[in-house]
Symmetry: D2
Subunit: 340 residues, 4 copies
């Protein structure tokens, strides 16, 4: 299946190319990156030796009539004008935020500019209905990295905790901040140091999480979210806590979570003695989580790890593409992380 | 002033020696480490070239009648038997947990074994009364690293938030886990990865924090605390959040915190646009913090950074020693971190 | 093809399992680790979720008559007694050193103990003859990680430099030091720091490199090798330099190397402006190199990067297994590294 | 003594301010950074809380008639025009390269532009004569970071090795590359990865090293130098090797080096069993080294560690300033590194 990757010069775009190189069904025939058009793919991504000698195209150079599947990894606000150039029957997975929010006012508040619309949210493990809804579509809004971790972490608990006051502290590796030459991202500033950002509840992933969790909780959900930049290239570790509606012990909570994700191939609720670790999911499409009850405060505490470029972006996009094209949902995706 | 460091083979002990080497008043005349007695100090701490050629002593080799000040950095449960060998008038700062808790039952629950007793808690910035209480004593229980960060972070807010439900997620560098040959601490397992530990509310610093904060709040305080191991050698970044009793905006919260610590030399409430960063306090006795109101959830959010071996252990111990010996509180201590 | 991995609890063994999980032809049916027998594979390698629920076997529990291919990743000196238990027709790739050296006295000097013998050296890119020799065998001695980087780096130049005086400084990530609970390997000691080890020419990889390079140089080769431990989990960066026999410029050197590896799938001589980077080959079977002439000193300088667990161990072992079993040499192996 | 720091926004400038904050004799009364003039010092260096509330000045705002000591940390080529504005009797230590090279043609080849001249080279440990020469001057050219490590490493051996062919591979932390927003320096590209740069003998520190070592060898010295960027903020580890003129064993080499630096306060030749480690000298003015003979190749091998911002820049500048102002050479300087 002929496939295009648009916006391939960033980290998510690079990870898409890395994963698609070994995908059994999707064949990348067009790679675009606006500001790098004409440059070698390996000048930006030297690790992608599969594409030795190939160049980034300008979008205008791509004949979309020949493309069956498009992955878009553009900065927010840029998808709509691109999509206008693509035949309406082409299957599209947008890794950006443009089509994630149903509420135009939330879009305008958190992102600014015109709301492009809403596509089905590509989080297959959110509920049985969600996977079915994805399967029927040809256009999917791929979730954000934090949103994937947090939504999947809280989902099994929505009927057991006070969802109007969910506290989340989540740390991300630096690729989550993009491939961007900024002083605060240079290695000298980041290595050996932790710092918070978008402090005080203003992270743009918040409405996306609240929308997704509210849909399954069937009531309004409120998240207090504090993101942290961690000295590692990849990975998100989210700690989620909420008051229990009625007492439960850790064993019961663990059973609840284990059952909830029993059939899921890409979500592991770990054995009770084991904690999720971001290094364990690097490069894979896995989410690993653990849950416990802090009986001292009657709070459920959930720890979730994923690769922000994997299940948080590129491999989840491929999972969605697998679903909408009718291939096996796990085609070309790894369940084993790099480990170390 | 002749000074002994007992338990000097760990990271806190090493940092004590590093700082005391440039202290204008305290002269280290005895360095002890039980299991390393007879070995060169530099065989364990090659960076401490001030002590080139010197050896660790056994405690039994130290003539305590000749020592005026003792720093103890032993594993918990070992201080009492040592203290029995030290003249009762000798000034002591214990970096361990043995004398921190007033409640014997809390000690038994979290640490096990016999409760040694309670000394004045060496957190001078906790309140004006606390600094005065310290100044009158000759024996000080130095706070834990997490406890220092969290207690100082929440202290200005105790009358403004629901202290019965304070949520804390705090990440520590690996020296916080000790100088110990364990598989889960080797670099291959830690670098590039985040993981939580002591999950579900069982961290032994919890009662210490609750005791200190309750004392100033004048009501029972409950903390839900989730610790994280971060891929960096030093530093703690604590994120603290609690429901506001009545609405407040970020500017008001910032003013509240700024006024609270206005006279403090070692605690910085940063300008509103700036976030604390652990690398900024490495090697110093500083605590840096920022505060904001997440109006979306009516929560106060506080971010606090310190060096777990500095203000979280060794330099705070020296600050306490400065106070109880009558020297300037900041003698020999740095306010500027390493930065990068 | 039924496959066993013996010694699977170390990092190389874990990487073998990770790669074999997606191999199209080799099916892992027995996983052994002596001291972990009876434990879950995921208790040691939590990232290997493919093996959720499976346990390490003792070697004595494996029916080798049912196994067609064996990978051995044991500490040196342990292979021979294992091999005695395996039918002589079974195909074996030994990732350890036991069968690498032809010279028994070199074995005794560098490793100690009895020399087990010599198998064909599994470095297919060493020469056309080497690949053919491998293809004819059923037992292969897989090269060491440093040896692979250094041998492939110097090979194209053997007729152009003074091979009696090759200087090598090579840095390795910490997984190269094994999965071992030692103080000098804990993250607090390693992160943010570089240090040399096995200093003064005593690294056991030296005779292996000299043997391999001498074979193609057709004269005795001497290597001065200084290894360095680097603060990263994976990767080797080797810098190799030797005096040119007669002047050559960087362009000519680059042409020489490019032609030498022209047909090789897993060795890249990078474009002149680009330097190898260990992160670019993480998780892949690639070697990337660059070469230049330092005209100031008439020295050829070669920089080589590979993943010590990939082309330096597990993926090269699979490449060898692919050759001796007659599958495509690149089956199940990636050419694209993780990148970041 | 009233002191100015010019070019204080970079890492070396920041480290100067950090160290000068605790210097007993030098009082910083003017801090300049051209492009940051008018901004808070802490907006660039949040860790320098000693300077809370102070702003960077433009050079034009400084009254140099009031300043007794000037540290210059400007990019190369900018010192001469600044110095024209400073009274000729003012003491100056220039951390930049402008006055290091005696040979105008070498300057033009490696740096380009007009050669400003040559000042006495501020490497006190180079020889007894060098320290005396420094003491007589009021203007000092402070050595480069690599040059300090390599020159001090090779100096004891100049009469024992072939100085016409010295091979050096040295790795630096990222602060050595400056505080500059470049893609190749962002943490995502650097963490977990090693890469070489300025490959093929073109590093501008080479002539500086050759000049300094030739002066003590009393014959022409040639260095083949390959620099590497390492995933750590600070530190240089240099590996130096050269052919021995006549055989020597490691013990003899160690004695030679130990005697050579016997009287030096800031240079440690470590005990034979111990290797230098960059983390051990972080934040200090120390150089630590080890030496061995690789008898296999008749090569002397030297391993040297220092902090590129410490003895490689800022603390060495202060050491030079101490000498030219007549204070104790070690005033305000630490001999103990951070360790971890």
């Amino acid at each position: 299946m002929k496939t295009a990757v648009i916006g391939a010069s960033g980290y998510a775009g690079g990870e898409l190319l890395r994963l698609l190189a070994v995908h059994p069904h999707f064949q990348v025939t067009a790679i675009s990156a606006h500001s790098n058009a004409g440059e070698l793919v390996t000048s930006v991504h030297p690790h992608l030796t599969t594409h030795n000698g190939e160049k980034f195209l300008a979008v205008s150079e791509i004949d979309f009539s020949d493309i069956e599947l498009v992955f878009i990894a553009l900065p927010h606000g840029e998808s709509a004008s691109l999509i206008a150039k693509i035949p309406s029957t082409t299957k599209i997975v947008d890794l950006g935020a443009d089509y994630r929010l149903e509420d135009a006012s939330a879009w305008e508040k958190y992102y600014g500019g015109v709301h492009a619309g809403a596509w089905v949210y590509g989080l297959p493990e959110l509920s049985a209905g969600q996977r079915q809804a994805i399967a029927k579509e040809s256009k999917i809004a791929n979730p954000g990295c934090y949103a994937t971790a947090i939504t999947l972490g809280i989902a099994p608990a929505v009927n057991h905790v006070d969802v109007s006051d969910v506290v989340v502290v989540a740390a991300s590796g630096t690729t989550g901040a993009g491939r961007s030459a900024k002083i605060n991202l240079i290695a000298s500033e980041v290595m050996g140091s932790l710092t918070s950002y978008k402090f005080g509840g203003v992270h743009q992933h918040t409405p996306e999480i609240e929308q997704a969790v509210s849909a399954i909780a069937k009531k309004p959900v409120k998240i207090s979210f504090t993101p942290i930049l961690a000295p590692m290239p990849r990975g998100i570790l989210a700690t989620i806590t909420a008051k229990l509606n009625k007492p439960m012990n850790s064993k019961e909570a663990h059973d609840l979570f284990t059952k909830h994700y029993a059939g899921e191939y890409f979500v592991d609720v770990l054995p009770l003695s084991q904690m999720p670790k971001t290094g364990g999911v690097t490069g894979s499409n896995k989410v690993q989580m653990q849950v416990a009850v802090d009986e001292h405060t009657n709070r459920l505490v959930i720890s979730v790890a994923l690769d922000n470029l994997g299940k948080g972006a590129a491999s989840q996009a491929i999972q969605n593409a697998n679903i909408i094209t009718g291939f096996h949902e796990g085609s070309g995706l790894s369940t084993d992380g790099l480990g170390a």
